[in-house]
């Protein structure tokens, strides 16, 4: 069951990206060609078990990286984090680089996120620090009459 759900959770991200694909561009067409060359007329045994997997009454809204601050590292950070949770959870935070660094450790220790190291860790921290800094607009009470 866990395996099926694991696959189901992957489908979510695949479906999401497929929706973004729209009409295949040159790159998608190249990849398409690659598929045809690779598989020829190979028969397919696929896994349509998805219908029997988890039926949720709630579909998370499909987030897109473009909704978030356009800074280097956005796509990598977005897809890395959304393997498990929505990016809104990230974007509602505002932290110093040191606290973002600690948060990556927390995600690895508490939730089994693959450990990020070296240049990859630095690049994701660069994005998080600049896109969602400690100085981000404070949360909490918002004046309902203030036109922003």
């Amino acid at each position: 069951m866990g395996e099926i759900r694991s696959i189901a959770s992957r489908y979510w991200s695949v479906d999401r990206v497929l929706k973004r694909t729209g009409t295949p561009g040159w790159a998608a067409k190249a990849a398409h060609l690659l598929v045809l060359l690779s598989i020829g007329a190979e028969l397919v045994v696929c896994a349509p078990a998805i219908g029997s997997a988890q039926q949720q009454t709630f579909e998370p809204r499909e987030e897109e990286p473009e909704e978030f601050p356009d800074l280097p590292g956005r796509e990598d950070t977005f897809y890395f984090c959304t393997a498990c949770h929505n990016f809104k959870l990230v974007a509602q935070q505002g932290m110093s680089r040191a606290r973002w660094d600690g948060t990556l450790d927390f995600m690895t220790e508490r939730h089994g996120m693959p450990k990020l190291e070296g240049k990859q860790r630095e690049a994701i921290l660069d994005y998080l620090e600049k896109a969602f800094p400690e100085s981000a607009a404070p949360g909490g009470w918002q004046n309902p009459f203030l036109k922003r």
Binding site: V17, R110, F145
Partner: protein, 451 residues
């Protein structure tokens, strides 16, 4: 895995849709690696890079089965991020609830929707740590195990719980441990709750103490550990989304319950049905949803959500925003005193000349009761006492009312401040900063515009 045989694939999209892992293997020679995310590497990487016309940074971290964004050219423009609060669209739930996160699903109840004496299920906040399980098809056969430091381990069905034990119904507050987190400066990490991670419902079930008596807790049993049916967000069945527990004295309190009904109806799946725990007054995460097992332990439970800075407060106050010393933390148990103004709603416009405003609200204080609620119209320079009602039973919230006289037209802020039975008041700002933002209980504040 059953499968269709003899179908020829027609496109990369179809291939990925049908079997992403196989698609990776076919297209890019990519195999799901030792990590569940299945990172891209080796010869497949070159093929991948060639297909998208460049090197792919972080390729080894690319989740298996994910069509890379670079392949998704000519895509339709991304929708703009929603502006302002996102309202919940969930069967049986009020559309006024505000979504804090969608995966996991977390939604809070704006203060003005806490205006009912008993919070209806439709308006009750939602907190999940993992995936939402499928609804149980045969709820009466749902079982809960009691094991660990007990003389007689048990497995009991919901049907047996109902027939063998005396049921009770109590109206009690359930409150998320992180309620009020958004009021911390600098921002504390986690779901940014305002005051809406709380509600007060009628819970029907049995005393946990009665069930534990049947099992016979050994003298060595000092702590509970709760386990549930929900899966970790990653879908990995070997990981627990959350497993918390309480000290034995809390477990034995007459109001600590195994419940199956909420406001007189079977406990909805989204609230942990068919069976959940309720430990009123304490951080809601102890009140495990979709309860399957309670293990009695001979030491403080150390499941996910019990350690580090999760559901913990500082022992010695720390500098806000600085690096936390994990040794300086103790478990958050009772929630702090809080009040909310439930009418009028924040942002209400009143007709010019309005001078009388009738206020309604609620207040509660974790394990304690509320001794008074005060209201200010002048930013805390002066306060007037509200009329405070008594709770129906222990852990019920206390409703309050007040009549305010406005001196003129214009912009006014109305603040509420509750004082608990030990004399502790809500503070002006969220106190005792901690990195995950627990214990944030400043005054509630609304603004109204007259004329």
């Amino acid at each position: 895995m059953s499968g269709r045989i003899g179908k020829i694939e027609r496109s990369i999209e179809e291939l990925y849709r049908n079997d992403p892992e196989r698609a990776d293997a076919v297209v890019f020679g990519r195999k799901d690696g030792p990590s569940r995310r299945g990172f891209l590497g080796g010869a497949g990487l070159a093929a991948f890079g060639a297909a998208v016309g460049g090197a792919i940074p972080f390729s080894q971290n690319m989740p298996a089965g994910l069509v890379p964004a670079a392949l998704a050219q000519d895509k339709p423009a991304a929708p703009a991020a929603p502006k302002g609060p996102v309202h919940l669209d969930f069967p049986g739930k009020d559309k006024g609830l505000v979504v804090i996160g969608e995966k996991p699903l977390v939604a809070e109840t704006p203060e003005h929707l806490l205006n009912d004496d008993t919070t209806p299920v439709e308006k009750f906040y939602i907190r999940n740590n993992g995936q939402i399980p499928d609804e149980a098809k045969e709820p009466e056969k749902w079982t809960v195990k009691i094991e660990g430091e007990v003389n007689k381990p048990l497995e009991i069905s919901l049907g047996e719980l109902k027939s063998k034990y005396k049921a009770q119904t109590l109206r009690m507050v359930l409150e998320c441990g992180g309620n009020g987190r958004s009021f911390f400066t600098p921002r504390a990490s986690g779901n940014q709750w305002t005051n809406g991670g709380a509600g007060c419902a009628e819970w029907t079930g049995v005393r946990l103490a009665d069930v534990l008596k049947t099992a016979g807790v050994k003298p060595s049993g000092i702590y509970t550990a709760h386990y549930a049916a929900d899966l970790h967000l990653s879908g990995d069945a070997s990981k627990l989304p959350l497993s918390r527990g309480v000290r034995m004295p809390k477990a034995m309190e007459p109001e600590s319950m195994i419940v199956w009904a909420m406001n007189g109806k079977p406990l909805p799946n989204i609230h942990g049905g068919p069976v959940r725990l309720i430990f009123p007054g304490w951080a809601g995460s102890a009140s495990q949803k979709w309860l399957t097992r309670i293990v009695i332990r001979d030491k403080e439970h150390d499941g996910p959500g019990m350690t580090g800075t999760s559901y913990r407060l500082t022992i010695k106050p720390m500098v806000p925003g600085e690096k936390a010393d994990p040794k300086n933390f103790k478990i958050l148990e009772s929630m702090p005193v809080r009040s909310v103004i439930t009418a009028p709603a924040n942002g209400t416009k009143l007709a010019a000349g309005t001078r009388d405003v009738a206020l309604r609200g609620a207040s509660w204080a974790g394990d304690l009761s509320v001794q008074r609620v005060d209201i200010s119209l002048d930013y805390g320079q002066s306060w007037q006492a509200a009329k405070l009602e008594k709770p129906k039973n222990k852990f019920d919230w206390q409703r309050w009312t007040a009549n305010l006289k406005l001196p003129s037209d214009g912009y006014f802020e109305i603040w509420s401040r509750a004082t608990d039975s030990k004399g502790t008041m809500q503070p002006h700002v969220a106190p005792n900063w901690n990195p995950s933002g627990y214990g944030g209980n400043p005054f509630h504040r609304i603004a109204v515009l007259v004329g």
